[in-house]
Subunit: 158 residues, 2 copies
Amino acid sequence: MNAKPPDPIRPADDAARALARRLISEARTGALAVLAGPEHPFVSRVAVGALSGRPLILVSRLSQHTTALTIRPACALLLGEPGPKGDPLTHPRLTLQGRVEAVDKGPHRDLWLAHHPKAAVYFDFADFIMFRILPDAVFLNAGFGQAYTVSPADLAGA
Amino acid sequence: MNAKPPDPIRPADDAARALARRLISEARTGALAVLAGPEHPFVSRVAVGALSGRPLILVSRLSQHTTALTIRPACALLLGEPGPKGDPLTHPRLTLQGRVEAVDKGPHRDLWLAHHPKAAVYFDFADFIMFRILPDAVFLNAGFGQAYTVSPADLAGA
């Protein structure tokens, strides 16, 4: 039996928290993991509008992720797209792990269209609905070997 | 009660299959959804080497995704990064849904380093291990409102 290695995930410092906030504020899309069944993860791209550590997503009722979230609100969202150059695994990214709550999209219309001007075409379609992601845990990967836990409360005002 | 709308996901045609194969062959990273617990999805970025519809991933034993996969092999992998321009939701992407099997990384060394030259630094580290993703279901989103199911068998030789 080998001894368990030390936990490689450190608590966030100020620089890590600042990076997490930047990844949130710059995010326009993310990779959303949901449960298509109790032991059946699914992942798809979703549009994200994130002014805080509790991002909004606008999704179609016709999509698999929306069907899944309606039955099981547990989810995780990966933010931070790799750029076209360099090793993609050195690009920072953030995972928010938690659940969704349904929100009325109307009050968020201006914010959403400021982030996603082309969404004006479909924002008001009846099958498009909005959820807010409520993270219980946040993980920052700032690059190779640089993993941090971030307190969701520290991102609340991001 | 409203009637359920017709299923918006169509079976793939030749163009959809060709696009799915291209997304697989071009993928260098993906967003991997795993189960951190029985009802607890997690998502993170992983390096991908995909010559076929059963892609390889190289991951560290120190990472959360590897811990999860070791306990629960169910997963889903999103391939197809949005480019820097245009509406990210119009960029095509592919979800492979299934499970992983552990594979010996040694025989895949040359292939992996051809895809990921910078991985030469850590490929041989003992904590890096390889899995193959065995999809049970494949979904292509070719752009807004263009969703297809693809047969995993149709991608076997991609």
